[in-house]
Amino acid sequence: MKILVTCKRVPDPDQKIRLQADSREIDSENLPYILNPFDAIAVEESLRIRETHGEPVEIVAIGIGVEECDKTLRTALAMGADRAVLIPWDSFLDPWNVSGILEKIIQRENPSLVLMGKQAVDGDSNQTGQMLAARLGWAQATFASRIEFQSGGKLKVERETDSGIETLGLNLPAIITADLRLNEPRYASLPSIMKARKKPIERIETSELGWAPDPKVEIINMSMPQTSRKKVRLTDISDLVARIKEALKTN
């Protein structure tokens, strides 16, 4: 079985984001970048499937973006992915276009399972997996918190929804997007980091894939929302009670 996992390079979500002077993009200078945490969960899940699956499993990590995505893919390789593919692209891509590139890669690689993060923590769109499933006509399970392989290529997936945990049964091929509780990604050991340096990262141009951009979302500008709060410190329970009552009365 072949599993394809997506690996997006995103700014470290614990760092403070700043905008460029023209407010069209974030200021990426000196910003540390990491593997999208939800994609790291997807990579981890693919490794666990390989560790417990009866048959051989090949794990291919896919990156789309600037040359530095090389490093992001090395993270996935150090965790245990077998090889990686980088599709160079140096400008904004909306979910429709990311899913379009992934569709082409899938036609080339023929995986039976695609694991991806439910969203990337930069754009927070939460659309690419669903659009990809729709394009391919594959089964879709978003927000997965548990994946269980059953006999005959069947899968049972638990999903985190607003109203509780939903269980779906699906057949391969399928697209599954990972939620937080699916697993806790491992840290790569030093030997596996060294080993990952020798693993291949293939570069495929979009032109080779027969893909051309078809933009659907244009970002016109960005702003930093400011919320001003009173920030009053209270020491007395009776003050706290009074403030709560006041908040309940407004409106």
Binding site: D14, L19, M222, V241, R243
Partner: protein
């Protein structure tokens, strides 16, 4: 303009999140032809309620009894093309994120999610949406139609009822053309007598300071009940199995904006703030005086929630 809304319901009526989506549709074009789509099986009482808010398009069929993205997505695609709709939209919920993005993948991909504001610039719609856990608000435009949108319910008040009863149209469903890629095997939810966290006027949330489910229930649940509010949770308690996932407030959980948000023992990671920072009044209690939650709070008290909250609950019960 022709706008279709993917409706959501519980028991007998429309969810407030859908009423917010209707309000959004009315506000982007007051002259729009609005139709709310209700999908499911045996929904008579639901339909009676939906008629109070807008025209209703009914897809009522046994083959649609459970909400799977493959079937609902295909059905929505068919409806949008048949109706020649300009916009298909819904609230930002797990249901709409799952189904509408799938539909968008079949309808050309002009989609923007989690809209918190909009403008009309020379006849063109511009949308505001948060990125980077809400650190940034982007203004975007969509190229092409139909446009698929999800709208953050807390950014648009529910649509007002006018007393008018709207018309309904029942669709013919041909189950043979619907895909069958996924089997729905059930839903486990923790039933709660408290209001839904996204719809409550008051939300009391607990964080790392809570040691177990019993303490969460006594302290967070106790204060929520005293204030007739809902309970919420930071991510760490869900990860540790102390609270169910449907209580998680934050970037990847639920986004809330109640009149009052009380954060108990929550440090205030940016991912949590993304889910609650638009609340009208925020009150925090935390034993760490440096906790970032105090920077986004109107009122803060430094101390142990295990000591302070029982006193608070007593004060409200005494009234």
């Amino acid at each position: 303009m022709k706008i279709l809304i993917l409706g959501e319901y519980e028991k007998n009526g429309m969810k407030r999140a859908t009423q917010s989506a209707i309000r959004f549709a009315q506000s982007i074009d007051p002259d729009a032809e609005i139709e709310t789509i209700v999908i499911g099986w045996q929904m008579d009482s639901v339909i009676q309620d939906f008629k109070r808010w807008s025209n209703v398009l009914i897809a009522d069929h046994e083959s649609l009894a459970v909400p799977t993205a493959d079937r609902y997505g295909r059905l929505l695609k068919t409806i949008v093309l048949e109706r020649n709709a300009d916009i298909l939209l819904g609230a930002t919920t797990t249901f709409c994120k799952d189904v509408l993005a799938n539909a968008a993948g079949q309808l050309g991909g002009a989609m923007v999610g989690d809209i918190i504001g909009h403008d009309n610039r020379d006849g063109e719609l511009l949308f505001q949406r948060p990125m980077y856990a809400g650190s940034v608000v982007a203004t975007v435009r969509l190229i092409g139609t139909p446009k698929i949108l999800t709208v953050r319910p807390s950014s648009y008040p529910p649509s007002a009822e006018t007393g008018e009863i709207f018309t309904t149209t029942k669709m013919e469903i041909d189950a043979a053309v619907l895909p069958d890629l996924v089997r729905y095997e059930g839903l486990r939810s923790q039933s709660s007598s408290r209001p839904d966290v996204t719809e409550a006027r008051v939300v009391v949330s607990g964080g790392r300071a809570l040691k177990n489910s019993e303490d969460f229930e006594t302290i967070v649940g106790g204060l929520a009940d005293a204030l007739c509010g809902a309970t919420g949770s930071s991510r760490v308690l869900v990860d540790n199995g102390i609270t169910p996932n449907e209580l998680q407030v934050g970037q990847t959980g639920k986004i809330v904006a109640p009149d009052l948000y009380v954060a108990l023992g929550i440090s205030g990671a940016i991912q949590h703030l993304a889910g609650m920072k638009n609340s009208k009044t925020i009150i925090a209690i935390n034993n760490d005086s440096e906790a970032p939650i105090f920077d986004v709070s109107d009122y803060g008290m430094v101390g142990d929630i295990y000591q302070i909250v029982p006193d608070l609950i007593k004060a409200f019960h005494a009234d």
